[in-house]
């Protein structure tokens, strides 16, 4: 690729020069890069807050912050990580970068709407940050905004809830765009059976974004109205029902878990075939299990509420349905592992992250079984076991999938490769630190430590100290990973079209891809997405 040392693809080609060329760009890749930048920045903020939470818990009693600060810290950590990092992470950042290229399109169906969606995201994020520093102080409700506490606290819940509303609106617009794009803009020959699995998972995710997100919108609006007008729709003294809030909240927020994890599964389904040089095992099972998870995921919200005072009959039904959702997830794990069978496996950094994903997700999923069963959930609910469990799924799953995607696709979009040895060191520290931290949290939860405690009884001290030490290893791993990726992007070795020997359409265009992706002629697809015959990896 010597002739292209100055080639920079979409990074330079733009109707407008400079910063406006980015802020007013409707190019899906530029919007994707803007999302990625914001998401990673907010992730770093959230991670620092997370480390502060762990540091506070290094010993019983007050160590580095008081109770109010602690409550605000875990609330802001939750709001940032859920609404501003995980939900938009893979769908909005990598979905935007990849979806059109992978289906052979030049852009999404509604490029202007796509930009608007990014602005909604930014406005939401800015409002949330203003909420921390203004009014009655940073919100202290937890990211769940449970009533009646959220309607009574004097902290700045109104603005934070409105910020979450804006972020939800951004998510809806992205969802609408993706569903339409996948239906309307597939190139010639790109049948449903030839869609890369990442696209399938984005498709399932986009439907959840469209059909579930409005529910959190109206719920948060009602919390604001409750605070402003004192309406009492969730206030038992005025005829309301506080448990109904939890229903409305989880009707969205449980499917939201799948918004966070499904695209991650899609990423893993792309990476594993590439580094095993084998087609993904059970393509249709994988495709349909994504749709199955998306659908069944909207049937199980009340499994967050077994101890809430909900009816026992509802516990019965929701517990049953919860176990049904476990099955498509299990199928995915088995299919990924079967893909490895008799493959030609290369342990490149993306593959390491992908395998770590499977391990972490398996632990998270299996821990979910104990939470899905009614009797055992009664003990584990609202303890640190839950905190450990959802970090296994969200961070060990969604987060690791994002890191896998960054190691896999950033060379494509920057045209440069990072240092592999350093990447492996970062991965190892992250993986070990992660498991030490969250496995210990699960243990301390089984022992009975409730969540959202800034102070705890002395009997929980040892395990908390181990978890805190683990968080430092994890922090170091993250630091090494980010620095390595950054240096790779700025000054790494240049790569050609297809450094990994992968098969989907994005690897057939130059790195980085040009504006409108495919030059003069639209691509024509003639084979399935994971046909490795004759595909050779470029040297780098």
């Amino acid at each position: 690729m010597s002739e292209s040392t100055t080639y920079t693809g979409f990074w330079q080609e733009s109707p407008r020069p400079g910063i406006l060329g980015w802020l007013l760009s409707t190019d899906h890749k530029r919007i994707g890069i803007m999302y990625l930048t914001c998401i990673i920045s907010l992730f770093i903020v959230g991670a620092i807050l997370g480390l502060a939470i762990r540091l506070e818990l290094i010993a019983p009693g007050e160590t580095i912050m008081g109770a109010q600060t602690y409550n605000a810290t875990f609330t802001v950590h939750g709001i940032i990580m859920i609404f501003m990092f995980l939900i938009p992470s893979i769908p909005a950042a990598f979905g935007n970068l990849l979806l059109p290229i992978q289906i052979g399109a030049r852009d999404v169906s509604f490029p202007k709407l796509n930009l608007l969606s990014w602005y909604c995201y930014i406005v939401g994020a800015i409002l949330a940050i203003i909420a921390i520093f203004s009014g009655g102080g940073a919100p202290d409700t937890g990211w769940t905004f449970y009533v009646p506490f959220s309607t009574q606290t004097t902290t700045n819940v109104n603005l934070a809830a409105f910020a979450a509303f804006m972020l939800g609106f951004s998510s809806i617009l992205t969802g609408i765009n993706f569903v339409t794009t996948i239906h309307r803009l597939r190139c010639e020959g790109m049948t449903w059976g030839r869609l890369p699995l990442f696209v399938w998972t984005l498709y399932a995710t986009a439907w959840i974004q469209v059909l579930a997100t409005p529910m959190i919108g109206i719920t948060l609006v009602l919390v604001i109205l409750e605070r402003v007008f004192g309406a009492g729709l969730f206030d038992a003294a005025r005829g309301g029902d506080p448990i109904l809030f939890q229903h409305l909240f989880w009707i969205y927020s449980h499917p939201a878990v799948y918004i966070m994890i499904l695209p991650g599964m899609g990423v893993i389904s792309e990476i594993i075939p590439t580094f095993a040089r084998k087609p993904l095992f059970g393509y249709w099972a994988m495709a349909f299990s994504s749709l199955g998870i998306a659908f069944a995921g909207s049937l199980v919200w009340a499994h967050h509420m077994y101890a809430s005072g909900m009816s026992d009959f509802a516990v019965l039904i929701f517990s049953f349905l919860t176990f049904i959702v476990a099955i498509p997830s299990a199928i995915k794990v088995f299919n990924w592992i079967s893909t490895l069978y008799k493959g030609s496996i290369e342990m490149a950094p993306p593959m390491l992250y992908a395998l770590a994903f499977i391990f972490n997700f398996a632990i998270g999923g299996l821990g979910g079984l104990a939470l899905g069963a009614a009797a055992s959930d009664i003990h584990l609910h609202d303890t640190y076991f839950v905190v450990g469990h959802f970090h296994y799924v969200m961070f060990g799953g969604g987060g690791f999938a994002l890191f896998a995607a960054m190691h896999y696709w950033l060379p494509k979009f920057t045209g440069r490769m990072y240092n592999h040895k350093v990447a492996v060191i970062g991965w190892a520290l992250l993986f070990v630190g992660f498991n030490v931290t969250y496995m210990t949290m699960q243990a301390v939860g089984v022992a009975g430590m409730p969540r959202r405690y800034y102070d705890y009884l002395p009997e929980f001290t040892t395990l908390n100290q181990v978890a805190t030490a683990g968080s430092w290893v994890m922090g170091l791993g993250l630091l090494i990973m980010f620095v390595n990726l950054w240096r790779g992007m700025c000054s790494g070795r240049r790569v050609g079209k297809n450094p990994w020997g992968a098969t989907t359409l994005e690897w057939e265009v130059p790195s980085p891809p040009p504006l409108e992706n495919f030059g003069e002629e639209d691509p024509v697809v003639t084979k399935g997405p994971y046909n490795f015959k004759g595909v050779v990896a470029d040297e780098y």
Binding site: L299, M305, M310, S311
Partner: protein, 94 residues
């Protein structure tokens, strides 16, 4: 990527639908004056569903749209029914 162009719907059809909607509105009001117990709310919802079907299929041209639009609407309605119905599992048995 097929482009479906619609034949314009004649004014007459729309006006007929409008008359039907007005008649159905009258029926809703009339039925609400008769006491049939818990059935009232179901009759009201039933008539409202018929009215909305007319609006969706004719005014909103769903009749002319491809199967994709219809499946999409069905999906949304199924999810909606799940949200409402399964919340009742708690409220009615508490």
């Amino acid at each position: 990527m097929s482009e479906e162009t619609h034949v314009p719907v004649p004014y007459r059809t729309f006006i007929l639908i409008w008359v039907a909607l007005l008649i159905l509105t009258g029926i809703t009001v009339a039925v609400s004056r008769v006491d049939v117990g818990a059935l009232n709310i179901w009759v009201a919802l039933g008539v409202a569903s018929i009215k909305s079907s007319l609006v969706i299929f004719f005014f909103m041209h769903l009749k002319q749209e491809s199967i994709l639009f219809k499946i999409g609407l069905l999906t949304m309605l199924v999810i909606l029914a799940i949200f409402v119905g399964m919340t009742f599992l708690d409220i009615l048995y508490r």
